[in-house]
Symmetry: C2
Subunit: 357 residues, 2 copies
């Protein structure tokens, strides 16, 4: 029997409660599909700051790099917001992405049929369903370029550097094309090539790589137009590939359009199989500890973990099916509750999904 | 009788047709409110490239800088898209903003009641009306920072620099606060201070300037969250102030949410009264020359021109009222036409508005 090493980064706020339910579901899935999982807890974000003084202890990096996969709850909260930038929970998140070499962030934005009415878009615009995958470059660009303060014409100034090398663009472009190949075969590369030099290099490189993927239809869009098109006609998109900062903005916009933000998972991948999986929602400190958080995005992150890192596609499918079934049966945590639903809490939702595996 | 000098940059695509109608309306307004307008044509964008080889001839800069105000149609089109970056129509647009020192871009995103149904958002989300003003910094940041190609670790790379000095942030912050003071007294400053150094300086500076505006309620939001909130609950916003690139993205998203993109005007202002006024939509080369373009955004740009540069607020109000009346009466160009409306072409729409002045 295979045994997998999974590191849990429970993090802050609702992190621990939602990871608990995700583990419940993963255990049940392991039992059913006959593999073992060994869990190791490690510290990240505010929890790490409180216990060790830094948001990303060395030990966490080592444990994560030795694991088969990493499951993250959420990091951050008002408690740590006044700390200097490099000591904030976010720095831990950026640090672990970089230390694990996770250059590709996959963020599916899709509508769960029973929750269709909660999309802020008009019904005729979202139609029967919506399924966009945003592939965001995660370890380059303005997030990791040189930055600082300096004097410019005798005035205090601050700067950041957007920078991409050709190999960085090539590898994320390939993730985009490969993902599109497995889905609707349409890739939209988003940049600001009419202004930015890094975007011009991005576009040239994506076009060059496209020769390897004659079966995928490539288009290009400026980021400002993409922000509009996501609202005007999101169904035109299959896979979007873009840089770190544009991906940050556009993937959040795309998730909100789905109206299912408490339901959306994400995968951060590198060149090997190991990856980091997390819900796209935040640590929600306002409801932490009340047992009312929605664990489904974290449970669906486990499904992505099984698919991408552990390569257990049947187990991954089983989790998705279980979540769909529980939603179909009307069970809802408070964040997605509407008239006529059956209201459940965090642990009940975890139990219900586990029972459907 | 006062006489104003207005430069017309008709530009490309539908630019000349829509500027023609805007001039019609401005002439009628001048007659009614007893002032004179002298027009001078100048070249910008593709039209300038075709006639002079560059997108921004020196003469255009001189004429614009001597004017009381500048009215722009739209620039760009597929014809010039393969030219090198600095010779494209967009370079002319960035160049004239910079040459005229137009550091503040005001982009109102509002819903025109009779067009409410064309917002892509659910009716209960947009409610009775929506009126957001995005104040975008326009002559700094990554648009104008150092950029180029270089080698990084032996690999070809490209870079751009996001940079802001304190005085650049101070002056745009003041435009934001002043605008909020005249409206709903709420200013939301948007940045990515959890990652970018220029954003941290931005936030510090905005907070410092806020002491001058105790009557304006200041809040801060990360750009990714703002992209979500514009879709989830746009009514929470009054004035948004942000940097050049975030403003580019968010103002386009905000306009699309209004569903009235063919209707939205913008003003670019500097430290004096002279400004550049233009519709936010593009040059629409696909429908150019057919006489079916919607001239209302350009006509409303004339209203902003009267308000901000010529300081003729009554004339500005008269144009807004005339546009509202024509819409109320059911007249629609094809882009905003719906069942039951009265379809008119570009020139008829101009005539109708002029007749209502
Ligand atoms: C917390 C923040 C640094 C992070 C980012 O910008 O990458 C977050 O917004 C995300 O998208 O995961
Ligand atoms: C054409 C382009 C350079 C321009 C910009 O990015 O500023 C446009 O998108 C705008 O918003 O006016």
């Amino acid at each position: 029997m295979k045994n997998y090493q999974v590191v849990l980064l429970k993090g802050d706020g609702i992190g621990p409660e939602i990871v608990r339910e995700a583990v419940k579901v993963l255990d049940k899935t392991a039992q059913k599909f006959r593999f073992g999982v060994t869990y190791t807890d490690a510290l990240l974000g505010g929890a790490a700051i409180d216990q060790t003084g830094v948001p990303l202890p060395k030990e966490t990096v080592e444990l994560c790099n030795q694991a088969d996969a990493v499951l993250l709850g959420a990091v951050g909260g008002p408690k740590w917001e006044t700390l200097p930038g490099n000591l904030r929970p976010e720095a831990g998140l950026l640090g672990i992405r970089s230390a694990m070499g996770l250059f590709a962030n996959l963020r599916p934005a899709k509508i769960f049929a029973p929750l269709r009415a909660s999309s802020p878009l008009r019904g005729d615009i979202i139609g029967e369903d919506l399924d966009i995958l945003v592939v965001r470059e995660l370890t380059g660009g303005i997030y990791f370029g040189e930055r600082g303060r300096r004097e410019v014409n005798g005035q205090p100034a601050a700067y950041d550097t957007e920078q991409y090398t050709v190999p960085e663009i090539e590898r994320i472009a390939r993730v985009g094309f490969d993902s599109a190949r497995k889905r609707g075969k349409k890739l939209c590369s988003v940049d600001k090539a009419n202004v930015l030099e890094a975007s011009r290099l991005w576009r040239e490189t994506v076009i060059r790589i496209s020769a390897e993927y004659p079966d995928v239809e490539l288009s290009h869009m400026y980021v400002d137009n993409c922000a509009m098109q996501l609202v005007r006609n999101p169904k035109q998109f299959d896979v979007i590939v873009t840089n770190n900062i544009f991906g940050d903005i556009l993937s959040d916009e795309a998730s909100m359009i789905s109206g299912s933000i408490g339901m959306l998972a994400s995968a951060s991948l590198g060149s090997g199989k190991n990856g980091l999986f997390e819900p796209i929602h935040g640590s929600a400190p306002d409801i932490a500890g009340q047992g009312i958080a929605n664990p489904l995005a974290t449970i669906l992150s486990v499904s992505m973990l099984l698919r991408y890192s552990l390569e257990e596609p049947q187990a991954a499918d089983a989790i998705e099916a279980a979540v769909a079934k529980v939603l179909d049966e009307g069970y809802r945590t408070p964040d997605i509750f509407t008239e006529g639903g059956k209201k459940v809490d965090t642990a009940q939702m975890g139990d219900l999904v586990a029972a459907c595996i």
